[in-house]
């Protein structure tokens, strides 16, 4: 399976026989390569990428009465993202319900990202400055929740914020309150859940870039009479910026499209984009609108990713 890939190309450029052998080897190598990668490309291309173009097509069709589409061209779905058509006089008004959900999704995802950064940055830094054995233990402890079922971790937050949940019980027992505070099915519960669920996604990429931090540069900062804060702001943060951006992307993308956490902690009244999209394929039966919403979400994510790629390449030339 391993043919000599790194063959000297200019061994005997003048000898036609040797050249032919080399060319044949190269061709074999190309064939081998494509044979090996094609199953992965076919599966992901066929089931992961092709369907995206199908929903692009569907977003330009009319909805059928019971799910599915009617094959008539229409841009109604895209208009319906932001506007509602009046049933009688066909005038367009802003679709407040949709807009509220879009805004909520962006605000919640932004809040989650910032909060996770505020908690995650010191944590990652602390881990990166531990001796090796402790560092591995910490990393292991952060990785377990990273890979643990998101649904179960959301359930755990549900147990905390319910009316008879741990937080209310403790507060009542301490005499701080005498009636449970309503927390489940509020924006607060969703925010708490999102931060809890996605925090490890911030810590791990941050750690990865802090691990490489050269502390001689930090020391140089102190030698030049910088205060701790100045060193943090002017030396450490710029050096670990790729990690900060990566962490923010890894938290922002899944939280803006979150489905499970707002479903369980927000209930019907505090939906986010993910729930709205899923509803179009369930109870609302409007596939074109759902497709348009899904594509809009993807566009938001792509913008974030482009920002990330530009940032990463600007900071680390020749890497990635």
């Amino acid at each position: 399976m391993t043919s000599p890939t790194a063959m000297p190309a200019n061994v005997s450029a003048s000898d036609p026989a040797a050249e032919a052998v080399l060319r044949a080897a190269k061709r074999r190598e190309t064939w081998r390569r494509w044979f090996l990668v094609s199953p992965a490309l076919i599966i992901i291309g066929g089931i992961g990428i092709l369907p995206l173009s199908i929903i692009l097509l569907y977003s330009l069709l009319e909805p059928a009465e019971y799910a599915g589409v009617v094959w008539n061209f229409s841009v109604e779905a895209w208009i319906n993202l932001l506007f509602e058509r009046d049933m009688f006089d066909e005038t367009l008004t802003l679709a407040d319900a949709n807009i509220a959900i879009f805004t909520r999704s962006i605000v919640q995802a932004g809040l989650t990202t910032i909060s996770a950064l505020i908690i995650g940055f010191p944590t990652a830094y602390f881990i990166a400055t531990r001796p090796e054995r402790q560092r591995n233990a910490w990393l292991f402890l952060i990785t377990i929740p990273f890979w643990t079922n998101l649904l179960i971790r959301t359930f755990a937050i549900m147990l905390l914020v319910r009316d008879q949940g741990v937080i209310n019980n403790v507060l009542i027992w301490m005499g701080v309150i005498d009636k449970p505070i309503e927390m489940l099915f509020t924006n607060f519960a969703v925010a708490l859940g999102l931060i809890y669920v996605y925090l490890p996604f911030m810590v791990l990429p941050l750690y990865a870039s802090m691990e490489k931090l050269d502390f001689r540069i930090v020391e140089a900062g102190y030698d030049l009479y910088a205060t701790r804060f100045a060193v943090l702001r002017r030396v450490i943060v710029p050096l670990v910026k790729p990690g900060i951006v990566a962490g923010c992307i890894l938290v922002f993308i899944p939280s803006i499209g979150a489905y499970v956490t707002p479903r369980l902690l927000g209930g019907g009244k505090h939906m986010m984009l993910g729930n709205l999209i899923a509803n179009q394929f369930g109870t609302s039966r409007n596939w074109p609108l759902g497709s348009a919403m899904a594509l809009m979400l993807m566009a938001l994510v792509m913008i974030a990713l482009v920002f990330y790629v530009r940032n990463a390449t600007a900071k680390e030339p020749g890497h990635g």
Binding site: A40, G120, W138, I157, A294, L305
Partner: protein, 283 residues
């Protein structure tokens, strides 16, 4: 020389402290945040686990220790069926994803850059870039078309939907392992007239095995955990364990759910620990 500017007192103080164990790595308050983060990550899960052993029906008031809810959960037919389906899907998706990812990794590592390599990376990582809900609805629409055209139904759709997002997770550790592997061994095998297949079978594969096993662990965990894609893609009657749990949670919380969740947590933790063992760097 006497004219030298005296540094301000603050700086003198700083210089003085630096002499005695000034740690350039230390930042005040960071340790406290880190410990808070650790406690915050584990406390809610700990509450969930503790109350799975509660004799009482309440999930938040402790009465006494009991394994009642475990017995209930294990004998619950709905949970049994859901668990079996989840395992079937995870095993099938993991098997396909790992084989395919291993092949792809062999073709994309330890070679000079070739045309299309960047595109291959982008395609393999595509499932990680697109939000899950978008993949879910796109797959739903696509599979609905196929079902309509062919009339074929079954669990195969769910398996392939899972395979797609398992591939990048299986690919990562396998690729990492291959990149750290020296080509010398394989060259020696080739020098000793081993056929390419024999070289792969006897040299490459055994060396690669820890990476493959790590890939298996990751894709198994990812498949077992999936909610959103399964929710939209699964046909009628195809309830995986996470779908069963989310369905129950919407109806109301019972300690039975704590018990199921605890078992689930334990399985995930075990798989992740195995992943750590397989990817551990040798000293």
């Amino acid at each position: 020389m006497a004219e030298a500017v005296a540094p301000p007192p603050r700086v003198l103080a700083a210089a003085w402290t630096r002499g005695r164990g000034f740690d350039v790595r230390h930042l005040p308050g960071f340790a406290a945040v880190a410990w808070f983060c650790l406690v915050a990550l584990y406390a809610p899960m700990l509450v969930l686990v503790i109350f799975s052993f509660n004799a009482n029906r309440s999930v938040t008031i402790w009465t006494e220790f009991s394994l009642n809810w475990y017995a209930k959960a294990i004998h619950n037919e709905g949970i049994q069926q859901a668990a079996i389906l989840s395992l079937q899907v995870a095993i099938a998706a993991t098997a396909i994803a790992t084989i395919v990812a291993t092949m792809a990794a062999l073709a994309t590592t330890r070679t000079a850059p070739y045309r299309g390599l960047a595109a291959i990376y982008a395609i393999i990582n595509q499932p990680l870039m697109v939000p899950e809900i978008v993949t879910a609805v796109a797959t739903l629409v696509f599979f609905a078309l196929i079902k309509e055209a062919t009339g074929v139904t079954g669990v195969g759709y769910l398996i392939f939907a899972h395979t797609v997002f398992c591939i990048p997770f299986a690919y990562m550790p396998i690729r990492a392992r291959l990149e750290g592997m020296d080509l010398t061994y394989e060259m020696v095998a080739a020098d000793l007239y081993a056929t390419p297949w024999r070289t792969f079978r006897r040299v490459t594969l055994p060396l690669l095995l820890p990476g493959i096993l790590a890939g298996v662990m990751l894709s198994f965990v990812i498949s077992l955990d999936d909610v959103v894609i399964s929710l939209l893609v699964s046909g009628p009657g195809q309830t995986t364990l996470p779908l069963y749990i989310i369905g129950q949670l919407r109806r109301g919380i019972t300690p039975e759910m704590n018990a199921v969740s605890t078992i689930f947590l334990a399985v995930s933790a075990l798989l992740v620990t195995l992943f750590f063992v397989f990817t551990r760097k040798k000293k």
